[in-house]
C-alpha cells in the first residue's frame, strides 16, 4: 500500500510544488532542487523511449507465435531489427541509416499522412452542408480560407485573400481565444489534481 499509493503521491506532490515554487520565487535551494528534479525526469524519460519498442516486439512476436505465416508481423520485425542494427553498428550519420530514413521511413510516412488529403476532401463534400446557422458559418469561413490560402483564390475571387487574413487574425482569434482560456483552466485544474494527489490514475494509481 505504502509503495503503491503513498510514495507515488508524495513524489508527484513534492516534485510539482518544488517546480512551481522555483518559478515564482528566487529561493536558491528550491531553484537548485527544481533543476535536479527536471534533470531527473529527463533521464527517466529516456528510458520511456524504449517502452514503445518493447510493446511492438511483444505484440508482433505473439502474432507470429499464433500464426507463423503472418507475413506482416514478420516484415515489421525484420525492418525493425535491420534499422536498429544499421543505426547502432554504422551510426546515425552513416549512408545506410540515412538511406532507410530518406527512402523508407519518410516516403511511406508522408504517403500515409497524405491519404488524409483525399479523405478530408470527401469528408468536406459530404459533411459541409449548410443545414443550420452554425454549419453555414463553418462552411463559409472554411471555403473562404481554403481559397484565400492559395494563389488561384486571389485570381478567381480577389476578396478571398484579404478576407482570409481578416478571418485568421480577428474572427478566428475571438473564437480560439475563448477555447484556449477555457482549455487552460481545465488543464491547470488537472495539473493541480495530479500535484495534490487527487488524480493518481495519471501515474497508474487508482
Amino acid at each position: 500500500m505504502f509503495l503503491r499509493k503513498t510514495v507515488p503521491t508524495i513524489i508527484a506532490g513534492v516534485c510539482g510544488v518544488v517546480v512551481v515554487v522555483a518559478y515564482f520565487f528566487e529561493i536558491a535551494p528550491i531553484k537548485d532542487l527544481a533543476s535536479h528534479i527536471l534533470k531527473w525526469q529527463s533521464v527517466i524519460a529516456v528510458f520511456a523511449l524504449g517502452l514503445g519498442g518493447v510493446n511492438i516486439i511483444r505484440l508482433h512476436t505473439k502474432n507470429l507465435q499464433r500464426d507463423p505465416k503472418n507475413f506482416y508481423s514478420l516484415a515489421l520485425l525484420v525492418t525493425f531489427v535491420i534499422t536498429i542494427v544499421v543505426g547502432l553498428a554504422m551510426g546515425q550519420t552513416s549512408a545506410a541509416y540515412t538511406f532507410i530514413f530518406d527512402y523508407i521511413n519518410v516516403p511511406t510516412g508522408s504517403a500515409i499522412f497524405s491519404l488524409l488529403a483525399f479523405y478530408i476532401g470527401t469528408a468536406a463534400y459530404r459533411a459541409f452542408r449548410a443545414k443550420n446557422a452554425e454549419a453555414a458559418i463553418l462552411l463559409i469561413t472554411g471555403c473562404i480560407v481554403m481559397l484565400g490560402r492559395v494563389p488561384i483564390g486571389a485570381k478567381i475571387l480577389p476578396f478571398t485573400a484579404p478576407a482570409t487574413d481578416w478571418i485568421m487574425s480577428v474572427l478566428n482569434v475571438g473564437g480560439q481565444r475563448g477555447v484556449m482560456i477555457a482549455g487552460a483552466i481545465g488543464f491547470i485544474a488537472v495539473s493541480l489534481r495530479i500535484i495534490v494527489g487527487l488524480e493518481r490514475r495519471a501515474y497508474g494509481g487508482e
Partner: protein
Amino acid sequence: MNISTNVGVWIGAIAALGIYSVLIKDNPFYRLVEHIFVGASAGIAIVTGVQTFKSQAWSPLTGGQWVLIFPMLLGVLLYARYVPQYSYLNRLPLSLMMGAGAGVAMRGAVESQIVGQLTATMVKLTTLDAWIIFLGTLLSLSYFFLTYKLEGGAAWAPRLGRYFMMAAFGAAFGNTVMGRVSAAIGRFQFIFLEWLGM
C-alpha cells in the same frame, strides 16, 4: 521523361504507390508497406533513444554526476509493468515525471494562456476588430460556463459564442485542408519529378 536510376528513389516511390493503393481498396500490398513503415519508425526511435540515452544520461553519469544513477534506476522501473507482481513499481518513476510535468506546464499556462490572452483582449476598444476579438472571446468563454445553464435573456451569449467558435473551426478546417494537401503534393512531386523525372 528521365526515370531515376537511384534504387532508394525506386523503393520510396513503390512504397508510396503501395500506400495510395488503399484508395482503391484495402489490399495486402498496402498492409505490407504500412507494417514496414511502423517497423522502420520504431527502429529509428530506438536508435535515437540510444543516442539520447548517451547524451542525456550516460555521458553526464560517467562524467562525474554519479547521482544520476538514481533516476536511471527509476527509469528501469518503468519496465516493471511487464512483471505482473512488481508492476506497481512503475508508478514511482511515472509519479516523478507526472508531478514535474504538471508543475512545469501549470506554472507557464497561467501566464501564457490565461493572463497573456486576457491582457491582449482587454485593450482600448477603439477599432471594430478589437471589439470583435473582445466580444468573441467573452461569448465563446460563456459557452464553457458548465456549472450552470445560461437561460432566458442570457441564453444568446453561449449561442453567439458557438457562432464565433464555428468561424474559428471553419478557419482551422481550411488550414487543415492546406496541410493535408501539401503532404500529398510532396509525395506527388517525389513520384513524378524525382522518380519519373517528368
